[in-house]
């Protein structure tokens, strides 16, 4: 057992921690570039809905008319910033399937890395949203016991890859 000065070493553990697979050094795959279009398109839909709500409201309610221009401007600015963030943060989206676990990194202002050990998986689903299908993509959804917070939703892989990964994981852990 190697000695370290800080208290971050395990004193009575039978394994050498540094010889374990390192989470921080996992080589990850980038997601499919087409996902960027899916993300932009789906946020665009939200944007259109917001814009139309504002236009309708400011037309119907007399008192709100004066705020129409400023609110449209704010929504446009927020949308532009959001799209910019999506583009910038797109490179952070990546995933890895290791022999014992599956890992997904994503996030816009933060980088969220979720790791699920394969033997903790309860079931797997493949979701094809409208936009995802347009680009031949799919979302692999992985569920563990526990609440929705632990679910891993891996977007941005092709339909074939999603099927392949599902087969792979199911074979490994033997769930039906």
């Amino acid at each position: 057992m190697q000695q370290e000065t800080n208290n971050a070493n395990f004193t009575n553990l039978p394994v050498d921690v540094n010889s374990l697979p390192q989470l921080q050094n996992v080589a990850t795959h980038k997601v499919n570039k087409k996902l960027l279009w899916v993300l932009i398109l789906s946020s665009f839909v939200t944007f259109i809905i917001l814009i139309s709500i504002i236009v309708i409201l400011t037309n119907v309610v007399e008192q709100l008319k004066q705020y129409r221009f400023i609110s449209l401007l704010i929504v446009c600015l927020i949308f532009a910033a959001y799209i910019l963030l999506i583009i910038i943060s797109f490179n952070n989206r990546s995933y890895a399937i290791r022999t014992q676990d599956i890992m997904y990194k994503h996030g816009i202002l933060s980088r969220l890395t979720t790791v699920i050990p394969l033997n903790r998986i309860q079931h797997i689903a493949i979701n094809e949203g409208v936009f995802l299908r347009m680009f031949g993509l799919a979302q692999l959804q992985i569920f563990t016991a526990g609440s929705g917070l632990t679910d891993l939703k891996l977007s941005g892989i092709t339909k074939e890859d999603a099927e392949k990964f599902r087969e792979l994981i199911i074979n490994k852990i033997g769930i039906k």
Binding site: F10, L20, L118, A145, L149
Partner: protein, 475 residues
């Protein structure tokens, strides 16, 4: 005895009739109120006939429901239930699907001295598997037979030991936990009173004058002490009704928690189902050596599943420690303690001191150009900074071979325990402005909730994350 189809205890007829009546009332009450309000000059004879007819229908329905309600436990341990009046239904539950058997008693059941047996299944596909009225012996027999195949020993075995919560402890709990709550309510009450009085008396000076000269003692008594006592008594009664005679039975691998004054609740859990345990003490409770505990069980959705959390309102710290040791097989030894990074303190200072102060000053400048509240701001800054400093000092992660503990809280100290083997998934979050500093938030997900530790140093925690993953994956 239970292997042939049988009815509930004969007094169950009354229970079923009452329940049928309750159900009817619950479904038709808007109609009844409408009828009561709208129909003015009604023939009394018709009204009475209608009521008698309705009651007769309910009685017949309840009676038929009782007659048709049959249950039995087959030799292989599966539970069969047949019920229904108009449409008959047969439910059969395999022994491996049975999660828990709860024995409860509502107020009516208590009067008639019968018990309700509720069977919880995995996945919760069958919601209503309930027997409404059986004697205590039958209830216990059903429970033991059904759980025999599940657990080697239920909490009712002979070598069980007990922890009881006394009325005195409940009183202290109500007093100490309600203290801050009551304080807030009284402050809000006083503020409301003040604004109202101001409206009535019109001028500040006059009000102050009035307070000082005339009503000083009366105001103090009526505005501070009475609401305080009222809030406390209400709180105590609530606690007493819900948690009266709280008994924890500890057997080999199972625990049973039973409590309640009118509605007696009985929940059984097993060691393997316990995922996450929270123990907390506020400063008053700490002084008098009392703590409370939340036990979160394995659940497919712990956020919505209220039954998944067991709450022990009060017990001595020693009993709390004893239960913890028992839950985690005496594996509470901690080898290392990780402190939060200083970023926790500085980011809290920004969030709770700098931003509110700037906002306050900005608004203050707009409203009153002269700085009225400078002293108030200074008091706020000093006290909040002190609290945040304690928060930072108390926020720690303890790590042992079989346990992970999060310590947190200033006025209310909490400890959250999970076992590494209970981890379902691990998430790590890093904001881009924390990347340079190497600070992370970690989320250890279990099937009973998450242990979240924020602002931990990356190089300190990563070896542990790798190790926990290794532990889970090598299973």
């Amino acid at each position: 005895m239970l292997n042939s189809p049988q009815r509930q205890s004969s007094i169950g007829v009354i229970i079923e009739i009452i329940y049928a009546g309750q159900k009817t009332l619950r479904q038709f009450w808007p109609l009844l109120i409408l009828a009561f309000v709208k129909i003015k000059n009604v023939n009394l004879g018709i009204l009475i006939t209608a009521i008698i007819l309705l009651v007769a229908l309910i009685v017949i329905y309840g009676f038929l429901y009782y007659r048709n309600f049959l249950f039995c436990v087959e030799d292989d341990g599966s539970f069969i239930l047949k019920r229904g009046v108009f449409s008959k239904k047969k439910v059969s539950i395999l022994p491996e699907k049975i999660q828990q058997v709860n024995i409860n008693q509502s107020f009516i059941q208590r009067i008639l001295n019968v018990y309700e047996v509720e069977i919880e299944t995995a996945g919760g596909i069958e919601k209503e598997v309930k027997i409404n009225a059986v004697s205590h012996n039958v209830a216990m027999e059903i429970k033991t037979i059904l759980l025999e195949k599940k657990v080697e020993s239920t909490a009712e075995t002979e070598q069980a030991s007990f922890i009881k919560v006394s009325v005195q402890q409940l009183l202290i709990y109500a007093l100490s936990s309600g203290f801050f709550k009551s304080l807030w309510i009284v402050i809000i009450f006083l503020l409301a009173l003040y604004t109202n009085a101001k409206n009535i008396i019109d001028k500040d000076d006059q009000l102050i004058d009035f307070l000082i000269n005339k009503g000083k003692n009366h105001i103090l008594i009526s505005a501070v002490i009475i609401p305080f006592i009222a809030v406390f008594i209400f709180n105590f009664l609530r606690v007493l009704i819900v948690y009266f005679d709280y008994t924890i039975a500890i057997a080999n691998k199972a625990y049973s928690f039973s409590y309640g004054l009118f509605n007696r609740k009985d929940t059984v859990t097993t060691k393997s189902k316990i995922q996450l345990v929270i123990i907390s003490q506020n400063i008053i409770q700490k002084k008098i050596n009392l703590c409370k505990m939340y036990i979160r069980q394995f659940s497919s959705n712990y956020l919505k599943d209220t039954k998944a959390t067991i709450h022990v309102p009060a017990m001595t710290s020693q009993n709390g420690q004893f239960l913890l040791q028992d839950f985690f097989n005496h594996g509470l030894n901690i080898d290392a303690i990780l402190n939060a990074s200083k970023y926790r303190f500085s980011s809290n200072i920004i969030k709770y001191v700098i931003v509110p102060t700037l906002v306050f000053i900005f608004i203050n400048q707009l409203v009153y150009p002269i700085n009225y509240f400078a002293a108030l701001i200074i008091i706020y800054i000093i006290s909040v900074t002190a609290i945040l400093l304690f928060d930072y000092k108390n926020y720690k992660l303890g790590i042992g071979e079989n346990i992970i503990v999060k310590y947190a809280g200033v006025f209310n100290e909490t400890r959250t325990f999970i076992q590494p083997k209970a981890i379902q998934a691990i998430s790590v979050k890093q904001y881009f402005w924390h990347r340079q500093a190497g600070v992370l938030h970690i989320y250890l997900h279990t099937a009973g909730g998450d242990l979240i530790f924020k602002f931990v140093k990356q190089n300190e925690i990563l070896p542990y994350l790798n190790y926990w993953l290794y532990l889970v994956e090598k299973e």
